[in-house]
Each structure stands twice: as C-alpha cells, then as structure tokens.
C-alpha cells in the first residue's frame, strides 16, 4: 500500500494498519482488498456499483471497515452500499472517504448507504470525509444515508467532515420503529470558499421511539453552511435537535431545524445557536500560556471533537 493511501486511511478511518475483521477497501473505483468473517459477509452488487454487507443475527463485538480512497484527479465514484444488520447483532461500522486531488479535474464521491437494522440490534457507525491535494481540482462529496430501524434497535451515527471538501450535500433519511433510538451526530468544518449543506429527515413511526440530533459545525473564511434537520413524530415519541455553530471571518451559517408533531404524545425539542468564539474563552486559555492562535485552535478542536 502506498504512503498516500495510508495517510488517507488514517484520516478517514483511524486506520494505521490493515484492520482485523471484516473490511472492504475501495480505491479509484476498484476493489483494493476485502476480508470477510464467519458472521459478516461482503458481496459485490451485480446490478450497480457497490456492496452488500450482511451481518448475521446475534453477531457480537465485531467491526466492519469500508473506506474509499480517491487519488486520481478527475475520478468520479458512485457507490451503493447496503448494510443488512441481523436481529440482536452488535456491530461497529467504520466508513469514510479520503480524496487526494493533486490535479485540476473534479474528484467526486457520491455514495448511498442504506442501513436495514434488525430488531434489538445495536449499531455504531462512523463516517469521515477528508480531502487534500494541491491541485485546483474540486473535491466533492454527496453522501446519502438511509436508516430503517426495526423495533427496539439502537443506532449511533457519527458523521464527520473536517477538511478539504469544496462542496457537499449530505442527506440523511431515517425511519424509527417502536422503542428504537437513533442518535445522529454531525461535525463539520468548512473553510475557504467551501459550501456544505445538510438535510436530515427522520420519521418516528413506532411508539416510544426517540431521536437525538447533535450538530456541531465551524464555518471559517468565506465558507457557507446550511443545516436543515427535520424530525416528524408520528407516534408517542421523543426528539431533541441541537445545532451549535461557531462562525468566523466572513462565513455564513443558516440553521433551520424543523420539528413536526403529528401525534398528541410526541415531545419534540429543537435548539439552535450560532455565534463566534467568546472572547473570554480565548483570554482564559491565553492566561494559561497559549497564544491567541493556539487558544482558538484548542477551542475549535474541543468543539468538533
């Protein structure tokens, strides 16, 4: 594996070596390496690009890594990945895409991830997007995530985009069953002239289902962000949307949370705040010996952690 591949893998999947357990590494539209286990199967789709990840009922303490690397300029990659998570399974899924665009062509990775989460299954999903390269080529991600949660299931989805992505439209759609709990965590940093738009549409259809959305974003330079989460309560349920943004320089942040109660026992809350870093936070860290730049970096790092 090339040094550049390793660097991208470390950035998007915290992988410093080839991981243990099930994995599928895709590079420039081709399969680089794959491993399956007794409980987790990975099958290439026949009708379109992408894979099916099939996790057996009752699987415990296993993980699946499915990073994607784009290192050729002008590479346009589109994948459909379907996750079938069996009843009572407990699994960690690490996805993510690293783009290194050293040329002037547009590199683009669009993916549709669909999660079919079985009854009482527990999933933790981590997705990181990262771009680098000195070329003028645009680095573009348009990920779509679809989550279907059966009764009693639990899913924690952590979606992170820290650097180097010129343009992104991130769409998440979810259906939450009875007693199921969905946690969507988004962390986003945009800089330069970047544009990021997030749309979330979650319907709670089962009794006592719950949703928590936690979004923390930082907009620097002249970048623009639009955040549009929507939760619809169709049964006795709970939802909490929390959007926090730090705005800097000449950036723009629009936060438009929507809660839609279609049942008298739906309890839905949204909170949204946009503001700059408080001056006293910087001053406090400077009194501990940090420079102004170090203080700012420490505050942002903590906020996006």
């Amino acid at each position: 594996m090339l040094a550049l591949d390793k660097e991208l893998l470390a950035a998007v999947a915290d992988l410093h070596e080839i991981p243990q357990g099930a994995m599928n590494i895709r590079k420039n539209g081709q399969l680089l390496t794959r491993n399956t286990t007794a409980n987790i199967d990975i099958v290439t789709k026949k009708d379109k690009p992408g894979i099916d990840i099939i996790i057996k009922e009752g699987t415990k303490n296993e993980s699946v890594h499915i990073p994607v690397l784009l290192t050729e300029t002008g590479m346009q990659d589109m994948v459909y990945n379907d996750f079938f998570i069996g009843d009572n399974a407990e699994v960690l899924i690490v996805a993510g895409c690293g783009i290194h665009n050293g040329g002037d062509g547009e590199s683009r990775h669009d993916g549709i991830h669909t999660f079919h989460i079985g009854k009482n299954a527990k999933v933790r999903y981590v997705e990181k997007h990262y771009g680098q390269g000195d070329g003028k080529g645009q680095r573009i991600f348009n990920p779509e995530t679809i989550i279907e949660m059966a009764d009693g299931s639990y899913a924690e989805m952590e979606m992170v985009q820290i650097k180097g992505i010129n343009s992104t439209l991130r769409t998440t759609k979810g259906t939450v069953g009875a007693g199921a709990r969905l946690i969507l965590e988004e962390r986003l940093l945009t800089h330069g002239e970047q544009y990021a738009e997030t749309r979330m549409d979650v319907e709670v259809v089962g009794e006592d289902g719950s949703v928590q959305v936690i979004s923390r974003t930082v907009a620097k330079d002249r970048s623009k962000q639009v955040f549009y989460p929507r939760v619809i309560g169709k049964n006795k349920c709970r939802a909490h949307l929390q959007c926090d943004s730090i705005i800097m320089d000449n950036a723009q942040v629009r936060s438009i949370p929507e809660i839609d109660a279609q049942h008298p026992d739906a309890q839905l809350i949204h909170e949204a705040a946009i503001g700059k870093i408080a001056g006293e936070q910087i001053i406090k860290l400077m009194t501990l010996g940090l420079t102004e730049e170090e203080a700012e970096a420490t505050i942002l790092q903590g906020f996006l952690k």
């Binding site: 923390r216 006293e280 001053i283 406090k284 501990l288 010996g289 420490t298 790092q301 903590g302």
Partner: protein, 248 residues
C-alpha cells in the same frame, strides 16, 4: 517583585469616559500573601486584569522582577509566571476538566496525579469530574472551583485569584481557605486574592484596600483587619459610608 507605578485606567462607555483607576502605586514582595479588598466598583478586578495583561492601563507602568512588562501580552505574562483565576470563568463545549487542567499545568505536572491533587485541593473528586465537559452541565460553584484548580497546577511567581469564594458553598469554602493557606506555606510565589471574606482576610500577610480607584490603605493584616471588622458607622476605613459594606 511586582511593582505598579501610577496606574490609571479609564473605560469608555455610552455615558462617556469613566475613570476606574486613578493612580495606583503598589509593590508586591516575593512570597507574601496579599488580600485586596474594598467596596464594589472600586477597581479591584480592573487592577487584577491589568496585572494579567487582559486590560491595558491608560497610563502607568508594570514591572516584574526589575523588567518593564507594561506592553507584554497575556501569553507572555503567563509564561513569565503570572496566573489569574477569573471571577466568572468561561465554559468550553467539548473540553474536558482533565484537558483544561492539563493545558494549564506546567510541563512537569501534566499527569493525572497532579490533576487529582489540584481537584482535591478545591474539594472535587477526580473520578466524578476529570471526564466531564467544562460546559453548562457544571454548576456555577463547580466551574469556579475548577477555575481555581487551573492555577494550582502551576508553579507561579504571582497567582491572582479574583473573588474565589463567589458562588462556593460553605463546606467547600472551608476547604478552599485551607488550600490557600497550604499554597502560601508550600510555595515561595506571591499570592493575591481579591476578597471580602473575613476568613480569607485572616490568611493575609498584608491587606490592601482599594477604594475609588486608589490604594486607600495597605498594611499588615494585624493593623488593618480590626478597622475593617468594626460596625459601618464607626469604620475608619469605610468612613461610615453606607456603600462600603463592612465585613461584619
């Protein structure tokens, strides 16, 4: 050790210029414990912020160990060994108590053991607090004690605590006075505490009274404290003014 020479400070607000400090002259010696007291609005916190470099004086000079530091930045003063505990500490989303204490700590003290000691000194249990975020989930009193702990992890030439007792419950306050007392005994640094509390005034080697932007009195505790603890009518330093709240 620290010398303030004719420090003035005027704030500009909607109503115009507001003189807060009107010529402060003060010398703080190495290893001494000073308590600065005086009526609200007298300029105590402004003076502390000028020492730390958070506010720049309108005129006057600040000297540390024979060096003029009037133009030194907050960061430079922190590195010279000046520390300041805020009266109202800021909160940080996503930064843990342990991380903040580690940021504060001197290089040789970036260890959990030092963190534990600093938290214990302010009456907090490490297990309960080290992994908590320094955010709105902490009460005012908890935040204040963590703020104080950020100074205890450092070997400072000059530690300034701005009203450390504010918002702290009685039981924790007793622990805090012991901590300040031990800090004075165990280090050769200079301690300055801005306070109105009799129990903190009693810890002082010297008491400094700041009123209307000037040093109204500075002397050994034994000489000043009895005058401060009289009734408002007969208080020599308060001159019987109602706005000056005596300690008793």
């Amino acid at each position: 050790m620290l010398e303030l020479k004719n420090i003035t400070y005027a704030a500009q607000d909607e109503k115009g210029k507001n003189d807060i400090l009107n010529g402060i002259n003060l010398t703080l010696e190495r290893g001494r414990f000073y308590v600065i007291t005086g009526p609200n609005g007298g300029g105590k916190s402004t003076l502390a912020k000028i020492i730390m470099g958070i506010l720049q004086p309108t005129s006057g000079e600040i000297w540390l160990e024979g060096k003029n530091i009037t133009d030194a930045s907050i960061t430079e003063r922190a590195k010279m060994g000046i520390g300041y505990s805020f009266q109202q500490a800021p909160r940080f989303k996503g930064i843990k108590v342990g991380e903040l204490l580690n940021l504060a700590a001197d290089k040789d003290r970036k260890k959990r053991a030092y963190c534990e000691t600093a938290l214990r000194q302010v009456g907090l249990c490490t297990q309960d607090y080290i992994n908590r975020d320094v955010d709105a989930s902490l009460s005012g009193g908890e935040l204040k004690r963590i703020e104080i702990a950020t100074l205890l992890n450092r070997k400072l030439k000059l530690a300034v605590f701005d009203e450390p007792e504010a918002g702290i419950d009685l039981w924790s306050f007793a622990k805090l006075t012991e901590t300040f007392s031990a800090l004075h005994k165990d280090s050769d640094g200079t301690i300055v505490i801005i306070s109105h509390q009799e129990r903190i005034l009693e810890l002082a080697d010297e008491i400094i009274m700041i009123r209307e932007g000037v040093v109204a009195a500075q002397d050994a505790k034994e000489k000043i404290l009895p005058g401060l603890l009289c009734s408002p009518e007969g208080c020599e330093l308060g001159k019987g003014e109602k706005k000056y709240a005596c300690i008793r």
